[in-house]
């Protein structure tokens, strides 16, 4: 019997959903003002467009404020343990390749205790949509620095400043071979929806870093992208096949490559075709791009990479089908009597 089957409902016509259909009956328990609210509503809003029956959708999370997410989605959900959501989701996907599975994690859950699982789920390219809420802090435990906190970060656990350099979620994901990597911002609802939609439609492990505000323990950590002034000069909207340009209409900037070193130029001061053109199909270039950050460079926002790669569970299924095609389905009765046996009468 094929475990991939057994979802006859898959054939039912998918109902026309609205955002409301994805809101659960649970009280939302985040702090007032938390960026997580915006993310929740963006996710709920884009869900209907996926055209997937609600019962075929599962949200898996670890532990953290961010990981409370599944309770608020009117789908199947599992709030698991700290850092392990990618592994739980991998097991679920292996058992049920027919399901649409989201993983929700945080910068601590996904990159501190859970860093290793993130590496391997991306390497395996399991077909999951992974949302990492990056607020550069441990929220739920009341404000210790996280692996994405800036060097010298003063927190409860580092009164004189943290002593370690942060890791960039996108750089990390790309180095782990993620087939889809994007970055978006909690205060940019339209862009979030757009990005989440694309991530959800990608086949394979899709990783999205969502810059999220923890107004209680790390307020305005992403202010460079919130503040009207700084934003125009700091936000680089990625568009496939388009040159990497940003800035106010009267003062457009662009990127050119000097060898492997990206350089900021004023648009117009260089030839159009000298500008670095964004190519989502180029992991190597995405890896360069993902290393850019303000103030020296703009902050790339949008889809960094979107490529096809072998999907773990696809191959597992192919191997099964082949084994069965070659030698027929398993039969325990036969198996027990296979190989050397002898009879005593």
């Amino acid at each position: 019997m094929s475990p991939t089957a057994g979802a006859p409902e898959a054939t039912r016509p998918t109902p026309r959903y609205t955002k409301k259909d994805f809101e659960s009956d649970q009280d939302v328990r985040w702090c007032p003002g938390c960026g997580d609210y915006a993310i929740l509503s963006a996710v709920q809003k884009m869900m209907p467009d996926l055209g997937i029956p609600r019962e075929d959708i599962v949200f898996i999370s670890g532990i953290g404020c961010s990981s409370r997410f599944p309770y608020y989605m009117n789908t199947y959900g599992f709030h698991t343990i700290h850092g392990r959501a990618p592994a739980v989701a991998t097991g679920l996907k292996l058992a049920r390749p027919d399901l649409k599975i989201f993983v929700v994690t945080g910068d601590g859950d996904g990159l501190s205790i859970g860093g290793n699982h993130l590496l391997h789920v991306l390497r395996r390219n399991v077909d999951l949509t992974i949302l990492l809420f990056n607020n550069r802090i441990y929220g739920l435990t009341k404000g210790q620095y996280s692996p994405t906190s800036e060097l010298g970060k003063v927190t409860k656990s580092t009164p004189q400043g943290s002593a370690d350099r942060p890791v960039s979620p996108c750089v990390f994901a790309l180095a782990c071979g993620a087939s889809f990597v994007a970055r978006t911002v909690d205060r940019n609802v339209a862009h979030m929806e757009e990005t989440l939609k694309r991530a959800s439609r990608h086949r394979g492990a899709a990783f999205v870093e969502i810059l999220q505000n923890c107004n209680v323990y790390n307020d305005l950590a992403w202010n460079v992208l919130y503040d009207r002034e700084s934003k125009v000069m700091a936000e680089l909207r990625l568009q496939h096949g388009k040159p990497l340009v940003w800035g106010p209409p009267d003062d457009r900037r662009g990127l050119v490559l000097e060898g492997v070193r990206p350089k900021v130029v004023k648009v117009g001061e260089v030839a159009e075709d000298a500008l670095w053109v964004h190519d989502e199909r180029e992991p190597a270039s995405a890896l360069l791009l993902s290393q850019l950050w303000a103030p020296d460079y703009p902050v790339p926002v949008g889809v960094l990479v979107d490529v096809e790669a072998p999907i773990y569970e696809d191959q597992v299924l192919q191997q099964e089908d082949k084994a069965i095609a070659d030698r027929g389905p398993g039969d325990v009765g036969q198996l027990l009597r296979s190989g050397e046996t002898w009879t005593i009468s």
Binding site: H79, A95, R96, I324, R327, R337, E340
Partner: protein, 623 residues
């Protein structure tokens, strides 16, 4: 392959008939002692003997040749009566080099057969084994044992002179010379080995020819050489009629899972991270993709167990396997399954510890970890197979209970059961009990923590079922609704409910079989791989008319409902374990009986002899 053939073996020299024999093949890791032992096992099995085996190899992959720590050995006992253990002392020892000689000689009975490969006793090997002088030159040796100095290497070379193989390839055949010789000594049929050689080396004619020749040469050598005065016959044992196969514990666990998957028609995800001695379960299952059992080699043990939990959430049977150190890492993940009330099966193939300990040696010291190795009140069901073949039924039972009660089930096997093998009467899968996996599909009045009144199990729901969308997690939940709840009384209620659910599994436990009188002086209580040794010891005592009985537990948690009653029927309770006394603590706490432990933690199975002595000592104390 007809049995008649299995009986046939020429014998022109005088043959004595024995009821049992214990022999050990010992040599370098490179000498192929494991294959030799396995093949001899098959031969004895075909001859209808009952058998118990004990492979023993170093932790190193291929320790340098000739070193003491590089010695690998394979012991078995075979007989015409029920054989409970691989045996304590040896009737025959084959030592392929000085290191093997040094390590194993102490276990040979005086008067026992000692076959040494003289060619290997050169200076280099003697040095490596730390012999100042060649022990074979010690006259005493031939007095104490029936010593046979055979130039196995040389005779093998000679047998292959004309074959187009290089020296190394030829030398590699020498273990089959020893096998042929020992097969002759104990008149076991070499046919199955000849068959095996064809199967194994089929593609390479020269190798097939070489091994065949050498095997026969060894056999002929025994027949013709002057040095062997006689050989031995061992009749077929009285065993239940039916078709048998040799079965090891790890394979039995794997096949038990396959049987459970087939019967339940549930998908199965097996998540594991390699670790000795559990890895072979992963290897075995990964060869059976036709059963759609999905093996997942995870990045670590935590991912392995949590993937299994994820699979269970998806309506599949989630299974994970490891050994002590890996199980220690799984504690938190198992706790998630406890509170999520999902079916989960965990295999712990116990090995010597603590920490890395003795990876290739056996031990029974994870019982407490199985019962308590998690934060807070986190009860799981614990089962323990009592023989390699029993692993099949225990694995199946673990799935059955996990699914029926929506609870994690831990199975405690060990290195001895995992690698040891026994003749196994092949069961009819259809005769196995049913596995009741009922998925809830009706949205009417559904809540994720509503409970079945008999089992207290909550409903199992497959994501994909319309109208049953729900969310669960590791935070305490209100019984019924499953919503997050910090309510004090609810928490107390849930803690007790999870405990009660495990206690209810007692409903599944058959009446305990007592091996011996229903009351008496000493009751020996054991669990796991010590079953054979305990039975042998108890039967020996019984043979001397002692009022001794034994009980062997397969259900460790909950304990059998009738156990307390049984314990009170004996003056003394003895609990032999390969740990410092774990089950004995559980029994004392549970039943307030003054049970005493017999404990040896040497990385080896307990010897029936030492258990027998412990019994007799306890009997004396009484008087």
């Amino acid at each position: 392959m007809s049995e008649t053939m299995a009986r046939a073996t020429a014998a022109t020299k005088p043959r004595r008939t024995l009821t049992r024999a214990v022999i050990r093949f010992a040599g370098d890791s490179g000498d192929g002692m494991q294959v030799t032992g396995e093949q001899f096992t098959t031969e004895a099995a075909w001859a209808g003997n009952d058998i118990a085996t004990l492979p023993n190899f170093p932790a190193e992959i291929r320790a340098p040749a000739g070193t003491l720590f590089g010695v690998s050995s394979f012991q078995l006992q075979f007989g015409s009566q029920r054989v409970h253990t691989p045996g304590d002392l040896l009737d025959a020892l084959v030592a392929m080099n000085p290191a093997a000689f040094k390590v194993h000689l102490t276990d040979l009975k005086s008067g026992g057969i000692l076959i040494v490969n003289t060619a290997a006793f050169d200076q280099r090997n003697l040095d490596k084994a730390g012999f100042a002088k060649n022990p074979l030159e010690d006259a005493g040796l031939a007095e104490k044992y029936r010593l046979h100095q055979v130039d196995i290497t040389g005779l093998t070379k000679k047998a292959l002179e004309d074959l187009p193989l290089n020296a190394k390839e030829k030398d590699r055949c020498k273990n089959f010379f020893a096998l042929g010789l020992v097969s002759w000594i104990y008149t076991r049929p070499v046919d199955p080995t000849l068959e095996w050689i064809k199967k194994r080396f089929g593609k390479n004619a020269a190798i097939v020819e070489a091994n065949t020749r050498v095997l026969k040469a060894g056999h002929a050598f025994g027949e013709t050489a002057e040095i062997f005065g006689e050989n031995y016959g061992i009749e077929a044992a009285e065993m239940p009629a039916g078709t048998y196969r040799a079965m090891t514990g790890n394979r039995a666990l794997a096949w038990g899972l396959l049987a459970a998957a087939e019967r339940s028609q549930l998908p199965m995800v097996f998540g594991a991270y390699p670790i000795t001695p559990a890895s072979d379960i992963l290897h075995e299952l990964s060869m059976h993709k036709r059963f759609r059992v999905r093996t997942f080699q995870a990045e670590d043990e935590i991912a392995a167990v949590t993937a299994a939990v994820g699979a269970a959430f998806g309506g599949a049977i989630g299974v994970t396997a490891s050994s002590g150190p890996g199980i220690a890492l799984k504690g938190e993940g198992i706790g998630l399954a406890v509170t999520a009330e999902l079916p989960l099966v965990i295999f712990d193939i116990q090995r010597g510890g603590p920490s890395t300990g003795l990876p290739t040696k056996t031990e029974q010291a994870d019982l407490m970890q199985a019962l308590y190795g998690r934060n807070s009140e986190s009860p799981v069901v614990v089962l323990a197979p009592q023989s390699p073949g029993d692993c099949f039924f225990i694995a199946y039972e673990a799935v059955r209970i996990a699914v029926k009660y929506m609870v994690p089930v831990m199975v405690l096997s060990d290195g001895y059961l995992a690698n040891g093998s026994e003749p196994w009467l092949i069961p009819d899968p259809k005769a196995l009990p049913d596995i009741e996996a009922r998925f809830r599909t009706d949205p009417e009045g559904f809540f994720p923590y509503l409970r079945d009144q008999a089992t207290l199990a909550r409903p199992w729901v497959r994501p994909g079922t319309p109208g049953l969308e729900h969310r669960i997690g590791g935070i305490e939940k209100a019984d019924g609704s499953g919503n997050i709840s910090y309510d004090p009384e609810n928490h107390d209620h849930m803690v007790r409910t999870r405990a009660e659910k495990v206690r209810r599994v007692a409903q599944e436990i058959p009446p305990t079989t007592v091996n011996g009188p229903e009351s008496g002086d000493v009751l020996v209580v054991g669990w796991g791989g010590t079953c054979g040794a305990i039975t042998a010891a108890v039967e020996e005592a019984q043979g001397e008319g002692r009022a001794v009985a034994s009980v062997h537990l397969r259900y460790m948690n909950p304990l059998p409902p009738d156990l307390g009653q049984i314990l009170r029927q004996y003056h003394k309770v003895l609990v032999p374990e390969i740990n410092l006394g774990q089950l004995v603590r559980v029994l004392r706490a549970e039943y307030l009986v003054d049970a005493v432990g017999f404990n040896r933690v040497r990385g080896l199975p307990l010897a029936s002899q030492e258990i027998y002595e412990a019994i007799t000592q306890l009997l004396e104390v009484k008087r």
